[in-house]
Amino acid sequence: MINGKRGEEQLLSWLIQLFIIALFLILVLSFVKTAASGKLVEEQLSAKQIALLLDNAIPNTTLVINSNSIISIENNKVKVQAVKSATPYEYEFYSSYAVIPEKIKEGVYKLEIK
């Protein structure tokens, strides 16, 4: 009777351990999946891509960008702020042409290079 009770305790203990380990693994794998899909660096990627586009753009070019983040241009810096993010990600571009950003509608921005 005592041995049986001890066996039950051990089985329960193992099950709890397995559950916790599986939970940890699921959390880590979901983080890896999010990181690998680029969601963690979405703002950064958008800012850098826009900066590179502006660096290579010639005057009288219009760029139309679809983005769920807020895009702005200030002092030769592209600022991209995701809805959930507290601060925008900034990246500098060197183009000397004037860039006029305009929000056409929700999620669509127009950048005119003059």
Binding site: F31, A36, Q44, K48, A51, D55, E92, Y94
Partner: protein, 150 residues
Amino acid sequence: MAQVLGEDVMLWIWRFLMIGMVLFGALIMVNSFYSNQDVRAAEALSISGRVLDCISDKGVVNPESIDADNLLKCTNINAGEIYINATLTSILVNKSASIGKEFELICGVKELEIKNKNIYCLRQKYYVVVENKSATLNLLVGINKVEKNV
């Protein structure tokens, strides 16, 4: 009985500590791998192309355009982060101009294009024409921007 339970608890803690360490290591590695995207190579190529377009007209270079003020006008760079050196070598004239922070020494010891942990260097050689004679134009672009890219 109490002793057996104590051993169990110790084993629990030990096991979770080990698993925790492995998973924490994985998290750190994934985070460091995906946290920064290095775009300095594309940026350096873009700057190099712009400088070339600015100081040459269809491959013909006027030596007067190899000038720091002109380079600054061409690129509008942030001098603290980017360095540009243009060197024109021909039988008739040798001329060199630089703008930005001096990265030449760091880039000089490296080969054509090597990603350094600190500074990205791009060295390009163009064959151009100066007063109907062949010449070479060497462009060196060094980009710091470590915080945002590495």
